[in-house]
Amino acid sequence: MDCSLRSLEDEALIRQIQEENYEAFVELVDRHSKRFYSISYRLLFSKSDAEDVVQQAFLKLWEKRLFWDQGKKAKFTTWFYRVVVNLCLDHNRKKKAMPLLEGAEPIDKQEGQEVLLDEKRKQILLEQFIQELPERQKLALNLCFYENLSNKEAAEIIGIKVKALQSLIMRAKTTLKGRLNHHID
């Protein structure tokens, strides 16, 4: 791969991609696929679905590369987060929600495994509670808490004001805290 591409910023890579530089596309995928997989996994809770969505998003980018408007001066990652998040939301709407607790293995009371199983049960409950949050609260929590994005960037991705985003985060955490305290302690 062309080493000079590594030093380029995302937006410069996009311009290279528009000029049919395939290596630039490979560099962009290599640079960001893990990051966008992460948010997809958080929203879909399935490795294969998350990988499919990330692939679909990058293929869209490649296919529609000539339509990227540099004039808007949007940061590539912010714009692409929006693309990936929308694909995940569409995916979730099409796919029937799967009850996580029914999919869990039955708890085996063998000695020594109890701590491990308790951890697993906590993880399943936590995931279920997160999935049950309203869509925007879930999105705000995933972007800010799990993806470590700034409030400003997360607000831009969701398309709301920073104050509204902060309110979503607070409501999400308060709900989760209450439910976790009730079920886990």
Binding site: Q55, L126, I130, T174
Partner: protein
Amino acid sequence: MDSGKFKENLLLYGTDLDQWPEAIRQVMITALENSPELQALMAEQGKFERVLKNRKYEEPSNDLTHRITSASLQPDIRSSVSLRLFLSRLFAEGFYFPKPALLVGSTLMIAALVIGFVIGFSSSTGSMLPDQRRANLQEFLHYEGNSLWGKQ
């Protein structure tokens, strides 16, 4: 800082004080040092965040990048962009239009062409009334007859 406001900020910015906005960080640290109540709230929030951080996560497959780039080389994707590439190259050779302007321009040209066709077809002989057509024919024959007589 009262405990209600402190709790709110804890939910918003978390237990890592470095993540707090500079404007309130120092006030927060001072309040925390002097209040066992706030320290208890901090500990409780820390416990909650540890549970959240313990959320299940699966790493992506090692070949994810390769899978995506390979899929981008599939023939159907290449063929779907080839016409666009051809047109963009064509335009890029001689002059440059910003993409939206090019799109708007070509749409307007197509629209003008369609409207032209519609107007052209609607004002052709097909839309003429039968009486009008008969009168025109009689006029033509009369003229042709006169000119023939005139020649003789």
